[in-house]
């Protein structure tokens, strides 16, 4: 179907693809795995016509294939389903499907043949079992449904090869199942698929073949049956990670760091009460929309709190701005790194220093001591093990997801927080970086910081926490201590209305 031959690509003089070669047979589903920065996205962007390779070539059904634009890729019947979906929320499903080329009643008339696109859209939606009319606005659909619209778009151009780039990150468990069922159907129709994901279990389940990339080179290429999970991880990181969750030897202290009593906000949180001790890692489990992220925003002062009390080391936080809460020792790693965590265009050093900046300023006019802030940034870079190749002045957006997350951690750690709320700290980052994040959380706890850790990965919470709160519909449904950790019990509390005894 498609063959990559010695593809090379460099950015800023750094080689990100060092001669990648592999082939996809017609109708085959091939998984592509690798750490962030391994070159997966770059390779797919080349295939999709967004980037041009510096050397090497691609062959499509034996013919040379060198798309100069996404449109050219579309003409070659290759569809790209992006991580961040590329749909227009303000347009209807039908308009989204045909935005690349509206059919006309005749080649002479500059009008759109509405009836034709409606019919075709209805047909495609029926195929994918999406219960919407073609005129439904895309903004009314959930993330999972939008994903299906993207797939419909691929089918509308009669794609022979579909690229999925991290399709499940914003989907619920049920939507994910549905996506997989549809992928199975597509496979039966003989459509080849490239599947990129950090979720290695899904890759094993869906794919016929797996290609492992590391540092821009193919380090493994074998049928899925010959690549068990441990082997895949070992290939990806280039070393064996014996234990993903590092051991923490310290125990939580007696003192209470964060005291939350009866916090309520209509339709978001109901009577939330818990105590976070110094040196404790307290997990918050729950499905998307259970109120876990909303709770974090209320605690940090970004969203209003209608009732209840929040105290940090005994000091009442209610009514204070995020800024004032930060001054009292609160820190918050948001789930949305790009929109709220970082200034993507700004330099690494400026991002890392941002929170603690007032500490480096003196006098009436707030002169910032360059020496102090530089020194502090240098130390914190080392502490979070930011990749050594990154210069301080380099924009954050040039870093891989894992290194970006380390910059976010650095900027909060620099302010020496007493309570750190972390929301999805390992979302979209690779195994190596995950391990580093876990290590930093443990270090913080060992120094007496209270950590409130929100995550949708139950394994992660079980591996890291002293206790886990389970939320559902804005309420705490269950509290599980480490000795009783049980995946089933947590999932049950998160899923069902009935609270277990």
């Amino acid at each position: 179907m498609i063959e990559f031959v010695n593809i090379e690509k460099s950015f800023f003089g750094v080689k990100v693809l060092k001669g990648v070669s592999f082939a996809v047979k017609p109708g085959q589903t091939v998984g592509i795995v690798g750490e962030n920065g391994a070159g997966k996205s770059t390779l797919m962007n080349i295939l999709g016509g967004n980037l041009q390779p510096d050397a090497g070539e691609m062959r499509l059904n034996g013919q040379p294939y060198a798309p100069k634009s996404p449109r050219a890729a579309e003409h070659a019947r290759i569809a790209f389903i992006h991580q961040d979906l590329n749909l227009f929320g303000n347009l209807s499903i039908a308009e989204n499907l045909f935005i690349g080329g509206f059919p006309r009643p005749s080649a002479w008339l500059p009008f759109i043949d509405r009836r034709k696109i409606r019919e075709r859209t209805s047909e495609l939606l029926r195929d994918l079992q999406l219960p919407y009319g073609p005129d439904t606005l895309v903004e009314r659909l959930s993330a999972g449904e939008r994903q299906l619209v993207e797939i419909a778009k691929a089918l509308a151009i009669d794609a022979k090869l579909i690229i999925f780039d991290e399709p499940t990150t914003s989907l619920t468990a049920r939507e994910t199942e549905r996506l997989f069922a549809i992928m199975a159907q597509l496979r039966e129709r003989g459509i080849a698929m490239l599947y990129i994901s950090h979720s290695l279990g899904d890759v094993l389940r869906l794919c016929d073949e797996i290609v492992v990339l590391r540092d821009g080179a193919v380090v493994g290429n074998a049928p899925a049956s010959e690549l068990p999970m441990e082997r895949m991880i070992a290939l990806m990181v280039g070393r064996e990670i014996t234990q993903l969750f590092p051991q923490r030897d310290t125990k939580p202290e007696e003192g209470i760091a964060l005291d939350v009593r009866g916090v309520s906000q209509p339709s978001v949180a109901r009577n939330i009460t818990f105590q976070l001790h110094r040196g404790e890692v307290l997990g918050v489990a729950g499905l998307m929309g259970s109120g876990r992220s909303e709770l974090a925003r209320i605690l940090f002062g970004l969203d209003p709190c209608a009732a209840g009390e929040i105290r940090l080391n005994g000091q009442l936080l209610n009514g204070l701005s995020p800024r004032e809460r930060i001054q009292r020792g609160l820190a918050f790693l948001t789930e949305d790194r790009r929109m709220e965590g970082l200034c993507m265009e700004a330099a690494i050093a400026d991002n890392a220093a941002l929170v603690a900046l007032p500490r480096f300023a003196r006098g009436l006019f707030g002169f910032v001591s360059k020496k102090k802030s530089r020194g502090a940034v240098r130390n914190i870079r080392e502490a979070v093990k930011l990749t050594a190749s990154a210069r301080d002045a380099q924009p954050v957006k040039t870093l891989s997801g894992g290194n970006q997350q380390k910059v976010v951690l650095a900027k909060w750690l620099l302010n020496e927080p007493k309570v750190f709320i972390i929301d999805e700290p390992t979302r979209g980052i690779d195994v190596g970086a995950k391990h580093e994040v876990y290590r930093l959380i443990n270090e913080l706890a060992a120094r007496g910081t209270g950590v409130l850790m929100i995550s949708s990965e139950v394994e992660e919470l079980i591996g890291m926490c002293d206790r886990i709160l389970v939320m559902r519909r804005g309420e705490i449904r269950d509290t599980v201590v480490a000795s009783e950790f049980d995946r089933e019990r947590i999932l049950r509390a998160a899923l069902h209305d009935k609270a277990p005894a």
Partner: protein, 319 residues
């Protein structure tokens, strides 16, 4: 290629362009390089530069201030109304000059504060907020004077705008102040962070509302300082003062490499941008082109600058 690329990305690109332009036009433009003409250019540049620097701050924070030139007109009128020997409220009083200067700055800061409140508390887009204050303020300036110019300004005041050394000292001081604030202080660092990503700035504990508000006040104040220089230089309180300069000011800032999308820019770039536009303006004047032709050329230059900025961004992205 590498050299071209480095030159292209350099902060001093515009200064280089100024030198090249000057060298290229001197042989064809009689009097371009004469001492008196250079003084003319400088005298024209400096007040414009002060406004442009204020606007640079606003653009870095991710906003826009269209009211700056109307603030100049209003402050000019207010100054005239107070100080004029013919019709001023304090005509002949020893307090006329200090009160006049204070009132000019105050009225400018107040307009800036109104912009700031509308944008930070009212959450009105900066474009609309400052467009409406521009309309209101320029209308007010004309209404106050019934569209007449005010003459008879005291000589102590006029000196502030006519002695080139004093003009240079005032504008140099203002520019230096903005440069230091931008590069050395907490305020400056916060300004860039907000311009890059206001939501991330809020989460990181940056007082986004306060910083944004004061940036518009500063923009007003810088326009007020420019109003003092203009009014004194032309010896009149004029309700239409600087009316045609708004796009020169915005254009100069953009030529200087400040991004309209916020988060990027510096005072030095703006200095070069103003200088470049002034050179173009002056040289075309000297070879006898009329106002409208010059406007067309300047429009083209600004478009080219915006295009260069877009190209730079693409280079930076590495594609």
């Amino acid at each position: 290629m590498n050299f071209v690329k480095r030159l292209f990305l350099s902060e001093y690109l515009v200064l280089g362009l100024c030198v090249v332009y000057f060298a290229a036009f001197t042989p064809f433009t009689p009097g371009f390089a004469s001492w008196s003409n250079l003084q003319t250019i400088l005298a024209y540049c400096l007040p414009i530069l002060v406004v442009s620097v204020g606007l640079t701050l606003v653009l870095i924070v991710g906003g826009i201030d269209l009211s700056v030139t109307s603030v100049i007109a209003l402050a000019s009128v207010v100054g005239g109304k107070i100080m004029s020997a013919d019709e001023g409220w304090l005509a002949g009083s020893p307090w006329a000059i200090p009160v006049g200067l204070f009132a000019m700055l105050l009225v400018s800061a107040v307009v800036g504060a109104v912009n700031g409140v509308a944008i930070t508390i009212g959450r009105i887009p900066a474009f609309i907020a400052t467009l409406t204050t521009m309309m209101f303020v320029s209308g007010l300036a004309i209404w106050l004077t019934l569209s007449r110019k005010i003459g008879g300004l005291p000589s102590g005041f006029v000196m502030l705008g006519q002695n080139l050394w004093i003009v240079a000292a005032i504008s140099g001081g203002a520019i230096l102040l903005a440069h230091v604030a931008l590069t050395k202080t907490l305020y400056g660092k916060w300004l860039y962070a907000i311009g890059h990503n206001p939501r991330a700035a809020i989460v990181s504990g940056v007082p986004v509302g306060r910083v944004t508000f004061f940036t518009y006040v500063f923009s007003g104040l810088f326009a007020g300082i420019a109003a003092i220089l203009f009014t004194a230089g032309l010896e009149t309180g004029n309700p239409e003062m600087a009316r045609d300069n708004l796009l020169d000011v915005v254009g100069a800032v953009v030529i200087g490499g400040t991004s309209l999308y916020g988060g990027k820019g510096h005072v030095i770039g703006t200095v070069f941008g103003v200088l470049f536009l002034a050179l173009v303006d002056n040289s075309l004047n000297l070879i006898g082109l009329n106002f409208y032709t010059i406007a067309m050329v300047k429009g083209g230059v600004i478009l080219l600058a915006a295009f260069t900025d877009a190209l730079r961004n693409r280079f930076m992205a590495g594609a």
